[in-house]
């Protein structure tokens, strides 16, 4: 019988070694019934996008605490576009100043979750906004 699961890639781009937040989010998504693919630390945008395509995920969650979000997040979105996979939703979190959020959203980032946001709130957002790609259209 058909069973459509939502699949999400959690990735840490760049040289950032802070992985607690990413792991917490990955675990919370698992608890909420999602299939989470975790790719580990130090990923290039190319690695992340290729993995997202092969895994046919519905969304990519980027975790960045290093301050490089303004370059790395748009880089991932640009690559998705180039590969015709821009229906994959990109969201993220980490140490990201409020002032940067409008810019990131203008680049196509769907939502940003910063420290202090209850994880339950993040999960509710994902449940509401991320559906299987081929069912959206």
């Amino acid at each position: 019988m058909p069973e459509e699961k939502v699949r999400i890639l959690i990735a840490k781009p760049g040289l950032d070694g802070h992985d607690r937040g990413a792991k917490i989010i990955a675990r919370a998504l698992k608890e909420a019934g999602f299939e989470v693919i975790y790719t580990g630390l130090h990923q290039t945008p190319e690695q992340i996008v290729n993995a997202a395509i092969q895994e046919d995920v519905d969304a990519i969650g980027l975790s960045i605490l290093s301050g490089a979000h303004n370059t790395l997040m748009p880089a991932v979105i640009k690559l998705l576009r180039e590969k015709g996979a821009d229906d994959i939703i990109v969201f993220g979190g980490g140490i990201i100043p409020d002032d940067d959020i409008p810019f990131l959203k203008s680049q196509g980032v769907a939502e940003i979750f910063t420290p202090g946001t209850p994880v339950s709130e993040t999960i509710e957002w994902v449940k509401k906004h991320v559906k299987p790609r081929h069912k959206r259209k």
Partner: protein, 317 residues
């Protein structure tokens, strides 16, 4: 169904392949159409199973095997299975972490799969997913099992060559060997050979094989020491894997395996087609049927017989 999807899969396209795998995993009706169309293009790949306890180093070994195969310009596909939580239905698929260095290689396709309640070390979709990777042109397809228990025998029904990974110092290894892993393995790997006791484990496995009389058979499972993290022993492992495939071909065992798989696939297809049909028919009546059994009006066997008979009769008309 979109016929260009099939063409794209056959030309090795990642996006199309990924989408087909999703349809299979989600058991969408389109999946069967895809499988029918790609069928003529399957049967070429060498399917290698890697099994062993969690943390034994399976994913690390897979990554090193990919590296070696790529040096020989072989195209590689990977299906890596991790468990679905029985409580939440969710899963964290982490095998890819060890393989991400191959993520930008266009000739390597890696897919993480959750068991979604299927027991036996694989997902229900694994067999069909392997077919798609085969059709897209991958020459070596590696399947990493969940690695939770001793009942992971399903891999022998899928893989041509099954590799069992053990590590020294876990204590329960020998028990695992006794409990049936001996029969699964075409090749044994003693990984983490940088640890003490590796040689002892090798000896123990060899002793077990002799005791079980397996050493007298046509294929004697080699026991190979590896240090996956350093890439040591991988070359030997790859040679053993190839030797085993050659043995299968020469001895006629490969044909036997393929026949058995076809029979199983045929049986599975018929079972699920009939089941789907019947369930579609009785869906609305389900509650009342269960009540009937609950009230003691009829037993499940009589009712099951009756409903199946009715359906088959209708089909004849």
């Amino acid at each position: 169904m979109d016929s260009s999807l099939i063409e794209k899969i056959l030309s090795g396209d990642d996006v199309a392949t990924a989408r087909a795998l999703r349809m299979i995993d989600d058991e969408l009706p389109e999946a069967r159409e895809i499988l029918k169309k790609i069928y003529p293009y399957t049967g070429k790949a060498h399917i290698i199973g890697i099994t062993g306890a969690p943390g034994a180093g399976k994913s690390t070994l897979v990554s090193k095997l990919i590296e070696l195969y790529r040096k020989k310009s072989l195209k590689v596909g990977v299906i890596a299975v991790d468990p679905t939580s029985p409580f939440t239905g969710g899963a964290i698929l982490g095998d890819r972490i060890r393989m991400q260095s191959h993520s930008t290689d266009p000739e390597v396709f890696i897919r993480s799969v959750a068991t979604r309640g299927h027991l036996g070390g694989l997902s229900k979709s694994a067999w069909e997913m392997v077919k798609v990777l085969d059709a897209m042109g991958k020459e070596k397809i590696i399947v990493e099992t969940v690695g939770v228990g001793q009942d992971e025998v399903e891999i022998i029904g899928l893989a041509h060559t099954s590799v069992v990974v053990l590590v020294p110092g876990l204590g329960d290894d020998i028990q695992a060997i006794k409990a049936g892993i001996l029969e699964i393995a075409d090749i044994f790997v003693v990984n983490k050979a940088d640890r003490p006791e590796a040689n002892r484990l090798v000896k123990e496995i060899e002793f077990m094989l002799e005791m079980a009389g397996i050493k007298d058979k046509e294929w004697q499972p080699p026991v190979i020491k590896t240090i996956a993290t350093k890439g040591e022993g991988i070359e030997e492992l790859a040679v053993a894997i190839d030797n085993h495939f050659e043995y299968l071909k020469k001895s006629g065992k490969l044909k036997e395996k393929i026949r058995m798989q076809l029979e199983k696939e045929f049986e599975n297809t018929i079972t699920s087609l009939i089941k789907e049909k019947i369930y579609r028919k009785i869906q609305e009546k389900m509650e009342s049927l269960i009540s009937k059994m609950e009230n003691g009006e009829v037993d499940p066997i009589t009712l099951g017989e009756k409903i199946t008979r009715e359906l088959l009769k209708e089909e004849e008309k």
